[in-house]
Subunit: 346 residues, 4 copies
């Protein structure tokens, strides 16, 4: 059997561990299986760039960040520089005798995978999202690693904040879904956690931070890049203007510095950016990636095509690609973690 | 309202984070709530050693390992140096006007809690086990931290193993339940994972390690302290004899060194011991501890006494203390993680 | 004997370890010694804000980042909101019967200390600079911790850079002295290291990065915030214009992205900022801080006032405050580390 | 030019970084230079096992623990399974046209290198010792990484010790030279540091630990494997008897547990063992390894054969191999770090 594997979209810790587990599982089940890595996501499928993946070679990939196959943020065969190149992608599959494809990718890649599946290509998906926001999947690999980076950054910022009596603002990833800021903020001891799902009130925030500075000498704010103001148009524009230059973290810091500076409290911003998605996966993510990879190989052997693996209730299950494509999993109102944030940030 | 909090049994990362979350949640819900920490587990209840837990004081405990309350491995009021001292424990509760108790502890402590609950003491339990082996609870705080330590140790041992062409054996905790060795071994890239739940064959193990050394130049074994031989009495006694001196890791290393030494492969042992339970909790464990603490406070406010918090399907639920007491959660046959181990250790 | 201790200027890892060592050393030598912490640097000396430092209380400070005394970036008693408040500072000293002062601070604080020493105040200095740029001192505490953060960040960025075939630019601290970028870049495997001491040529840099992307699929740039262009006025203004908005890292990234984007290589920036000075000190810095603290206490007991501690040839020596004040230690031409950078970045 | 490179003796973090720097420096100076890696130390020289080291291949080795060349603890061509095999080693050199050799190794390997140098082989040495005990060299790569592991272990043990009111004993490497225990103990906040260079008094130790447990609720002991008793023959035999089974850490723990157990204080042992030499080098060690590698390449180009690189006063210098061979650098009486230990362990 010949199987192709590709990784699409932004990189995240654990991709290599999935590649490793898929390859080992397929080759162990049947030593004649040939696994082909497709380079740079769907780009390599259109451009016919493949490389063999051998068990001995992938074994060492467990704790390596990123993806040895490379990836591509915007490579859609159905919208290829203005035209449809899906036929070329299918031709590559045929040319190499690839019988099935494992697509490790986010919402975008899984939506493309769904389209190919509808065209008859045997595909198994593996959900990849550092934001933990793929529908029907409780926890994605890479997310724990990102949360650990956020928590570590907050812990570092705390000592500086405390020494100078400052408020420190940390901006994390999370345009629509605030999971990273929420878990990272909880793990890092933030005094305020601002999410896209819960517009915040600037006056209430200011007052809470003032109180916290008075109580403990400093305060930490963890804000998702997609967090928004609830205070109405005027403030929104004000922050929005600055945001255009440097993001919500900068804008919020500027505004809070104006407000709290009167009482002698400085406010400073830090933008984590790419640091959240690089580096070796945490132990948790290595295990989860291995589970996803083994489950994908098993789905493939059982010909459960057109499905993606998902974690539900601590078990790997299969969900139709069509059910996942185009949907996003945000923090729902009333979620347990919001209760936790309400308690520790009170 | 007056609430007592105690931590019992062996320490583990996240205990302080639970203490913090319980205290903050109780005081936030009702500012008049008084939280009293009971020192060194049930020992402090008998000996009347209490200390106040104030929100401002506990706030900083999030990432501190161990427990500020202290703990005790063998303090059972019902079996107190040969007699029943439960009345003294109850007297302490009454003397201080404690209306309810939060018991953060393992199987032993929760069993004692169950006995007190049957005597009418309003108790909410929080499961604490670094081994992840409390019944009806999918994941306990401290476990992720222990797994991270095991994975990190294996990663370190790997470079030494490879440089010298050696087999390295790492012994982890896990007398009856092998979760730490299983997840730690998966996360650390072990070539063999030996669990109490799956007696191993010495000949098959030897052969697999030989193969791995030939393939990749070294091999890593992750063995739980309670792992046992399937080879029958003779071998068992042989290993058992050495085991009496230094544990299964030493015994196994000695035996493998004899067998593999003939081909010039050295085998060396490392015993992680206490390193697995100390230190700051991982980001994951800080979040989980916070959830458990907040859930316990809520159960207490809703007077759901006689229950312990448990994680099921990524939600904190309540389970009767009596259902948990005296039971242990081992790795069940056919568990997904065993499939993973079978693949990567093949 | 009564001794005052203060920390001035920006915080850095190891300050608390120095405070601890000074206090323990003074109290051990003479149990009657009283150590008084002065809050927020020279601010607390003017404002008379002191707190006792007791051996039992400081013992736990070894691995805590920042300073428990607090610090202040711009508190100069000789230029106090437009007037000279040095008499108030001296009055505080007299009022509390302080016989000598330990000033842990950077160039600014040590210059103030020198002025007070000339006025007859018995002072011992401890050099504090995360930038490793205090004159006559080979290595300052906090620097190793900052270098470790930079190296870790580069390691994280590398996996993302490689997965996407990108160039990643990391901006570090270092306005005039490039030590952090130099050692951090060497430790993190940067392909280009840009320092204030060595103006760089944009064309040569572009060409080198192109070559590196071709060779290894990605490239990493480590640039100190004070790095400058050698290309003359035109380019300088061009970069300078953007620099006004977001610093050299942003400006350089913008320029490189324009140049390399034509060949399909994206360039992305990360600004480490405050993450470099927060958090627990590395093991190295804990030892160095302890040495500095013990050496300061000994200098104090031997009444070697008017001196600051310095590391020279792996020994703590004493240097006159006047010799250090107002001087800065930059990377000298021909330094061994520049040879190293020339080799690995070739 | 053709250059051979080998790594001998026990592995340590930074070996690969030296290999990388030597190779890059030699190839950059002259692109026609051919670097040959000799496998498993002097074993590969006798057995003629070589592999090419190319710049593009070594570039990624900076943060990889161990040595890609492999190493061997007991491969002496002059004492080769009972005979002299040095001629075979020299024949390998000649057969491949190797013009000079870089030997990265400890006292043993450098002594062999010295013998070969006297036979006319052009050799440059690089000192390798995780124990930091090579003569005339102030700091060796790998040592900082080992110290960091010890400090981290003590930090972990502290939370457990404190939660249970225990004394924890950590045994580190250091048979004759106690640098690792000394710096590791200082960095990890040990309450007692026991070195081979300073025999300790059991009664005084017991009393100090009792005092510390009374003061702070726990105590940490950091003991080098070669630490010895000053109490005379009787105690020595007693501890020595147990030591035969499990080392000084076990023996000391057993004895202290007997003594302190009477007051209800438990004592527990941890043996770090191989964990101290595995894993990625710290940032500090990556820089130092790079410096050593670049300096070795430069010495080679300048034909300064028969010398080894050494760090003195923060500069890489050259020392005759004969001056280093057979000597060991222990902690000298009156060393600054001993003063520090005396202060913080008082």
């Amino acid at each position: 059997m010949k199987v192709g594997v590709l990784t699409g979209g932004g990189d995240c810790p654990g991709l290599n561990a999935v590649i490793r587990a898929v390859t080992l599982a397929l080759c162990q089940a049947d030593a004649r299986t040939e696994v082909l890595g497709i380079q740079r996501g769907f780009w390599g499928l259109v451009e016919d760039r493949l490389q063999p993946l051998r068990p001995t070679a992938v074994r060492d990939l467990l704790d390596e960040g990123g993806t040895v196959l490379g990836t591509h943020n915007r490579a859609d065969p159905f919208d290829w520089q203005g035209r449809d190149a899906s036929a070329e992608a299918l031709a590559t599959v045929e040319r190499h005798g690839i019988e099935a494809l494992v697509v490790i990718g986010g919402d975008g890649s899984l939506t493309i995978a769904d389209r190919f599946a509808r065209l008859g290509l045997p595909i198994v998906g593996v959900p990849k999202t550092i934001d933990n926001d793929i529908a029907d999947n409780e926890r994605s690999f890479g997310f724990d690693s990102a949360v650990a980076v956020v928590a570590d950054a907050l812990t570092r910022l705390k000592t500086t904040a405390h020494s100078h009596g400052r408020v420190m603002v940390l901006e994390t990833m999370g345009r629509n879904a605030g999971w990273i800021a929420l878990e990272g903020g909880l793990a890092g001891g933030a005094d305020a956690i601002l999410l896209p799902e819960q517009p915040f009130h600037l006056d209430a925030l200011t007052e809470r931070l003032q109180r916290r500075v008075a109580e403990q000498g400093h305060a930490l704010v963890c804000v998702a890049e997609g967090a928004t103001l609830a205070d109405g148009a005027q403030h929104w524009q004000q922050l929005g203007g600055v945001a255009r230059l440097g993001g919500i973290g900068q804008a919020l810091t500027h505004e809070l510095d104006q407000r709290l500076g009167k009482q002698g409290t400085e406010v400073r911003a830090t933008l984590l950016g790419h640091l959240q998605r690089g580096g070796a996966p945490t132990a948790f993510d290595r295990v989860l990636s291995t589970r996803f990879g083994v489950a994908a190989a098993q789905a493939l052997r059982e010909r459960a095509f057109g499905h993606t693996i998902a974690l539900q209730g601590d078990r790997c299950v299969r969900v139709p690609l069509s059910a996942v494509a185009g949907r996003q999993r945000c923090v729902p109102p009333g979620h347990e973690l919001l209760d936790c944030a309400a308690v520790v940030c009170a």
